[in-house]
Symmetry: none
Subunit: 231 residues, 2 copies
DNA sequence: ACTGGCCGTCACAAAACCGTCATCCGCCCC
DNA sequence: GGGGCGGATGACGGTTTTGTGACGGCCAGT
């Protein structure tokens, strides 16, 4: 390894920043901290880090603005940190070009894990964060928050949309109800896993054609999956 | 699953502790409770749990001290419980190496959900390579829970799928019924080994072509095996 | 305050699955 | 070829998992 990968932490809260830096350094990264947006931008430009850890809530210059600004001039991967948790916000961040999104409270370990994941992913040019998910006759446009089945646009309430997205991120893969709860509604969500059943039912009414589920399939004893290519 | 994941609850308040334990056990964990920090440490050392649920407010030995102490000697994931809610405390906990943080009052269900999330995260550090088992005309995709024979997807109920996977993990090797029970349904499973016969029969109907078993072969007086390379 | 949409849970019915038993069949060895 | 043991099979009842309609709470727009 020629040199350690560089991570720039843009975070105004001193304690958070210190913790992240500590963990990053312990995990084999070179880390620097910027206290505010302006400083962040300037360090980012001069130090050329391999990744940015960017708090959205910043004094003066908003985190998203920085995200946008940097995107205009470089390809640095960006991992957003935020207290907010809605799919809405997540989307806004990702749409601005962020590579991933972690909601507070986060565990430093998890953040480090994600940093690693992003770096791995960007080194080997794989598929970028895609804006459009497809699987068979299903097509989801994230930026429009629009789902289309067999060309027909179906209007979905938030929960159902999130659930569908969670499934569509890995078509064919089987998810347990718990996994779905976590992926669709976030960790720490308090609700029975049977709730998923209800949403599945409502979803089916909107996306399935005949009485027989062809897209959103039940896997007995395990959970649900989205049909991919085979029978 | 060789055995249930172990969770150690360190909590002085009897009611909380009992509730957590109840929920954990109902959710498929083995749970033990320690009433104070000292006991917590000693059980943690001797019982080697897979995760610690640690109340911060403890008599005598403070929860954070335990956290620190354990971190020095092991990697057990730790989930903190606390009445306090300040960012200050939260950070202090996470900085000390905790993996997540739940503030009281908490819903037991949420706690269990987080426990699961942490365990999943620590077990499978990253999106694991999609496991695919092959043997002759048989192909099993674990993530999709899909078995294909001669290109044709066969739909298998949980028990049959598990059995097939157990066999497919070592094609050609002969397993006794007991071994199969253990590998497919886990140890501690209560059932006759003749049950395997039933599943084998049902499996054969789905994966064999003619009346003569070619894939799932009987080894008289011993058990069953999956054909590997010959006829 | 009212209406409508959305959500989480519940209760009940339906469906799928499982384990066991009794019986019949086939393999192995004498 | 026959005896004996292990395996195959079909049936059945009980259990578990899902599907679904209903209900009450909640929130936002009117």
């Amino acid at each position: 390894m020629p040199q350690l990968p560089r991570v720039l932490v843009v975070e105004d809260e001193a304690k958070s920043a210190a913790t992240l830096r500590l963990y990053l350094e312990k995990s084999g990264f070179e880390a620097r901290v910027a206290r505010d947006g302006a400083e962040g931008l300037s360090i980012a430009r001069s130090w050329s880090p391999d990744l940015l850890l960017l708090d959205i809530m910043l004094p003066e210059v908003d985190g998203l603005s920085i995200c946008r600004a940097l995107r205009a001039e470089s390809d640095v991967p960006i991992l957003l940190l935020s207290a907010r948790t809605t799919e809405e916000d997540r989307l806004r961040g990702l749409r601005l070009g962020a590579d991933d999104y972690v909601t507070k409270p986060f565990s430093p370990r998890e953040v480090v894990a994600r940093v690693r994941a992003i770096l791995r992913r960007t080194k080997a040019p794989e598929e970028r964060e895609d804006e459009i998910l497809r699987s068979l006759s299903l097509e989801i446009t994230m930026s429009n928050r629009e789902a289309r089945v067999r060309g027909r646009v179906v209007d979905l309430p938030p929960a159902e949309f999130s659930l569908l997205v969670a499934l569509a991120r890995s078509p064919g893969r089987v998810f347990s109800r718990e996994e779905l709860v976590e992926r669709a509604f976030g960790p720490g969500y308090d609700g029975l896993d049977r709730t998923i059943d209800a949403h599945v039912m409502r979803l089916r009414r909107k996306i399935e054609q005949e009485g027989h589920p062809a897209l959103l399939v039940t896997v007995f004893g395990v959970g649900y999956k989205l049909a991919d290519s085979n029978t």
